[in-house]
Amino acid sequence: MNGEVNLVVAHPLEAKELIEWFELGEVEPRGKYRCYENKKGIALVISGMGVRNAVNAVDWLHGRQSPGFRAWLNVGIAGHPSAAVGQGLLINRIEHRRSGDCFWPPIPDLGLQGCGLVTVDEPETTYEQDAAFDMEAAGFFAQAAGLTTTDLVYVFKIVSDNRENPVDEVNLQRVPELLRNLESAIRKLVDHLRERSAAIADWYGMPAEFESLLRRHRFSATRKAALAQYCRRFCALGMQGRLSEIARVRFRDAASLMTAMRLELASASESGKTSRQGAE
């Protein structure tokens, strides 16, 4: 099972290679942001530069997608006082210089070089801190983490400038080449995120019967929550087959359905004979 991943980049030149690797097609008609996607669950949005744009682009992309469990990855160039141009950095700490807010992206064991990062409003020219510098990550992370678990939000930066090669000398046309040189690292990261988001979808997705039962009867908010819990318990106890059967039965109303489900669960729990147990 492949999970879904949203990629966020600031500049079209940062998107170029990603679009090619993941065979992304542009979403038409163009909306507020240029957006690309494939049929395998990967989408990409070009946010434009700066924290505000990053926040808005994440929000915009989320708004146009159906509900689901998606990972988020910000890929882009960054400055660093001493790291070599072309070095890939998996960001493990983000400081937003203007607000002082700190964010802590997860650190998977992928063998990628880790680094802290400072998000600034203007390109960094003095490189005073021993960290990477960008202009979007803090906004990206804050917004994306509000939409999913923080464990599914990653930031990967490629060093484009340092003290020896200052930011005002960066040739943007070289950006696709910088990404190209890190293709395997970026692919590895995307694959990892797809696995993670697939796992989350597997853990927390609702069985199809839930939607079908919702359509068939009228449920109050409380009953809807209870129905979700009952459906999950049927699955957890290895009684998917029984849930499917119940979903096909015509009950008078939601209350009768819920009573039948409750009794069935109580009986299964009491006997302790679930198919999962039986398999052991």
Binding site: I107, G114, Q277
Partner: protein, 328 residues
């Protein structure tokens, strides 16, 4: 074992921090102001983090020694607990820690000396024997090669015979203890569930056989050892428990076991809710439950009779006077 090491700025130069960072020099080292910035963040997924937990080195502020909950532990005087660690490197599905903390990262408080000062104050303020449980929010020994917790606290308690330390564990990290002279007031209490339950619900935990071997070696070396049958899960039948009791008490000198206890599966209701959200697909939590006084336990017909039968089997091996039921 860990994906990264975070450390508070405040403990950057602490000798324990330096030693641990050196031990994990190949991992990312990330500085933070307070461990809560990472550990207490919202929207973390404990279940996912368990797959790549980090170690957080911090200083414990505030109260370091707390009264043990009523019904927890053996009757031997005033009871306290202290937590030099939050969380556990093992992944037991029935554990309440997964519902208590937002993060699966392990926090290690490196200021052991401050804990020792607080323990001394508690000893001085109390009368008679004082019991100190160290494995309430963590496993006491599982991280011993990294933390050297027992190496510090066992000699400390050995100097204070009016105090008793319980090292509650599922770990086989006993080499440090075996190098020390046994301390009569430091008890190594090993937790067990049945073989089937352990296989099903205890991930990354040493096998029953290995735990038992470690416990037998400690007993042979003169250490007081204790047995904790926790949690008792109705999944296992009486035969499974009978086999477990036979296995354990064939290997240990039952007459020299400090204490034996049982405790049913139970969890504070809010922790249970959190755990259920994390593991909606877990059959254990899909069973019928009952909530009494804010504690959730598994619904089980004839629970009291079931427990009494278990105890009867247990008393074929041990003196009932050394037994207690853990209620919390």
């Amino acid at each position: 074992m860990f994906s990264a090491v975070y450390f508070e700025s405040e403990v950057r130069d602490h000798p324990r921090t330096r030693a641990i960072l050196e031990r994990y020099r190949e991992l990312p080292h990330i500085e933070c102001e307070r461990f809560g910035q990472i550990f207490n963040r919202k929207a973390q997924n404990f279940r996912m983090q368990k797959q790549y937990p980090a170690l957080i080195l911090a200083r414990k502020h505030g109260r370091k020694v707390l009264p043990a909950p009523a019904g927890y532990g053996f009757e031997a005087g005033q009871s306290h607990y202290f937590s030099h660690m939050l969380n556990c490197i093992y992944d037991c599905r029935y554990c309440f820690l997964q519902g208590m903390y937002r993060s699966a990262h392990c926090v290690l408080f490196v200021n052991f000396e401050d804990f020792a000062d607080s323990i001394l104050q508690s000893i001085a303020a109390g009368s008679g024997t004082q019991v100190f449980y160290s494995g309430y929010d963590c496993d006491s020994l599982a991280l011993e090669p990294v933390s050297n917790f027992a190496e510090f606290f066992v000699p400390f308690f050995a100097q204070h015979p009016r105090a008793v330390l319980e090292l509650r564990t599922k770990s086989t990290q006993i080499s440090g203890l075996l190098q020390m002279a046994p301390a009569p007031n430091c008890i190594v209490a090993m937790s067990f569930t049945t073989e089937a339950c352990a296989k099903r619900w205890e991930r990354d935990v040493p096998s029953i056989e290995k735990r038992l071997k470690a416990l037998a070696r400690l007993q042979e070396a003169g250490w007081p050892v204790a047995i904790r049958f926790e949690p008792l899960l109705p999944e296992a039948d009486q035969k499974a428990y009978a086999s477990l009791f036979d296995l354990i008490f064939r290997r240990l000198d039952a007459g020299r076991v400090h204490s034996t206890s049982t405790g049913l599966f139970r969890m504070p209701a809010d922790y249970f809710r959190n755990t259920l959200k994390l593991y909606p697909d877990e059959p254990l939590f899909a069973r019928e439950t009952r909530t009494e006084n804010g504690i959730v336990s598994l619904e089980q017909p004839n629970r009291e009779a079931w427990l009494a039968e278990l105890e009867e089997m247990l008393f074929r091996h041990i003196d009932p006077a050394s037994y207690y039921r853990c209620a919390n």
